[in-house]
Amino acid sequence: MEPNLTDKDAGTAAARPLLETRLERYGAVGLILALAVGSMLISSYHLSLLTTITIFAFSAMGLNLLSGNAGLISIAHAAFMGLGAFTAAWFAIDLGIPILIAIILAGIVSAGVGLLFGIPSLRLSGLYLILATFAAQIILYWFFEQALWLTKSPDGRFVGIPEVMGFEFGDPWHYYLLVLVFTIAGAVVYLNILRSGLGRSLEVIKERPIVSQMMGVNLQRTKLIAFTIGHFYAGVAGALYGWHLQFVATEAFDLMGSIELLVMIIIGGLGSLAGAVLGATFIVVVPELLDMAGRRLVDDMGLMAPIRMFIYGLLVVIFLIYEPHGLARTWRKLVRYFNKKLFKNKNEH
């Protein structure tokens, strides 16, 4: 066996930083502080929107890892969020397991079921996986409507106010902080994956699966890991979403929901953290803006929904044709530009 990588090989290379540029590092800290404090000051409606964005950013990270980085396209991410939401509620309320543990368990259940539907793709090309996940979406949604022991009613179930170790998250701001902590942790793990050998192996199986096998990457194992992590994110995000609305609505996890998540990472940018965050923000904010504009422009509110839908579809098509790399690429260029301006000579590399 070859000698392992040991200390004597250590050269001068610095470890890869979590975030590439100084601007991003300062920016991230600033953003977190701004969110934590700012969320206290805004109206409850906007806080609710912000919480939704944060949860969907978390969920989109998982999907981006799976579909953006590893190229394993899933049209069932919302259904796995739903699975997480219902199982978390079941663990916490029906079985009385503490909420934080219930949330993690929900992630594990989602990951497990995700693996099950991912198995066919171990031997097949990606097109089959798209159809397999599609089947997962249909089957899971039907399951939510049927399994009343889990979901209480076909429309969903109430989950009440979350309580962690005696502390009630009655104040939406407190709950937002909890969501923020989860999302930051998720983001850190995502960035860690991207800069480690795992991230590399995900990227290479997407571009050249067979070559990668001959370069020593275990294709099946890598895909399984991607399924596990991606669906874990979905499950946890679903659980957080349930307690955010205090009602787990089956409807929220339909096919359209899954498509929206895919649209997030496409418009945001495939395979990057910025893509997940920007995409989630875009998808939540733009319909709000459209509604605001619509209220002024369209008299007949019945027409509003189809018009919104049309613009939504059009945006997807236009983005894919004219901005196929999503917002993240533009974002990245801006960051690099300003980083150069702001931190001249101070940057390593």
């Binding site: 050269g11 470890a15 890869r16 991230g199 590399r200 070559v211 096998q213 001959m214 370069m215």
Partner: protein, 262 residues
């Protein structure tokens, strides 16, 4: 496995290898041996089965017959495990990951040497993280890039490199795997004379200084004659001659099948 310096090397024994694709016999009863520390050239006209042979050794196809690397029978070792046994390769058509950086491309070669499991990779830092070995691998990769004269390109996407650089990158990627046996599929194809000369010297270095056995497919007979210790000639999936380059060139069947075409 043996902890000794790889000078001991491992012998590759191919015996009675056959492979067919939907009725087309790509390889038929091919046998030969590669002594450790030598350079072996495989020549033959297009469609002779050369790349198929390399693909069998590196695990893309499962042929009939047996292949031994040292003591171990290779045929049913899965592709991703063969690199761990010391078999690395390059490809006829450039197969770098065009969207990844040059550094990431080359680091994939050392992927099988990373021992951290995926949970540790998610954590990255700390005693249970993978940062230490990542750092080591990166340092080694950068050092290798230095030797390839590509250090300044480490952060650019591999797709932006020139053809020659991509070919060099592929060899580097295979070297980072610390192979005992290196399979080169037409490493010089499409290169200018000067580049060929440079690459030839480099292949000799790899063979002599790093003590790596080399099996390569090559069309340029000048290169074959200067580099190789042994030549195997394939034609229509069969081995028609084998021996030192000077002798093989004289072989009548070889002249007819292959050199005659030139």
């Amino acid at each position: 496995m043996n902890e000794k310096k790889s000078s001991a090397g491992l012998k590759l024994c191919i015996s009675d290898l056959s492979m067919s694709f939907g009725g087309v016999q790509a390889l038929e009863g091919v046998s030969f041996e590669v002594e450790p520390g030598t350079i072996h050239a495989i020549i033959g006209p297009n469609g002779a089965g050369k790349t198929t042979l390399i693909n069998c050794i590196s695990g893309q196809f499962i042929p009939e017959g047996t292949m031994h690397f040292g003591e171990r029978e290779l045929t049913h070792v899965r592709a991703h495990n063969r690199i761990q046994m010391g078999i690395a390769r390059t490809f006829q058509h450039v197969n770098v990951y065009s969207e990844l950086s040059v550094l990431d491309n080359i680091m994939i070669g050392g992927h099988h040497r990373l021992k951290s499991n995926w949970i540790r990779q998610c954590l990255y830092w700390g005693p249970y993280g993978c940062s230490r070995e990542e750092q080591m691998l990166q340092a080694e990769a950068l050092e290798l890039l230095e030797r390839l004269e590509m250090r300044h390109l480490a952060d650019s996407p591999a797709g932006e490199l020139s053809y020659g650089q991509q070919k060099r990158l592929e060899v580097g990627r295979a070297l980072l795997a610390h192979p005992k046996l290196l399979l080169l599929d037409e490493p010089m194809a499409g290169m200018a004379k000067q580049e060929k000369k440079q690459l030839s010297d480099w292949i000799l270095d790899i063979n002599r200084e790093m003590n790596i056995t080399i099996v390569m497919i090559e069309h340029d007979m000048t290169v074959v004659q200067t580099l190789s210790d042994q030549v195997v000639v394939l034609d229509f999936g069969r081995k028609i001659a084998e021996g030192p380059p000077q002798e093989v060139v004289k072989d009548k069947r070889v002249r007819k099948a292959y050199l005659g075409e030139d």
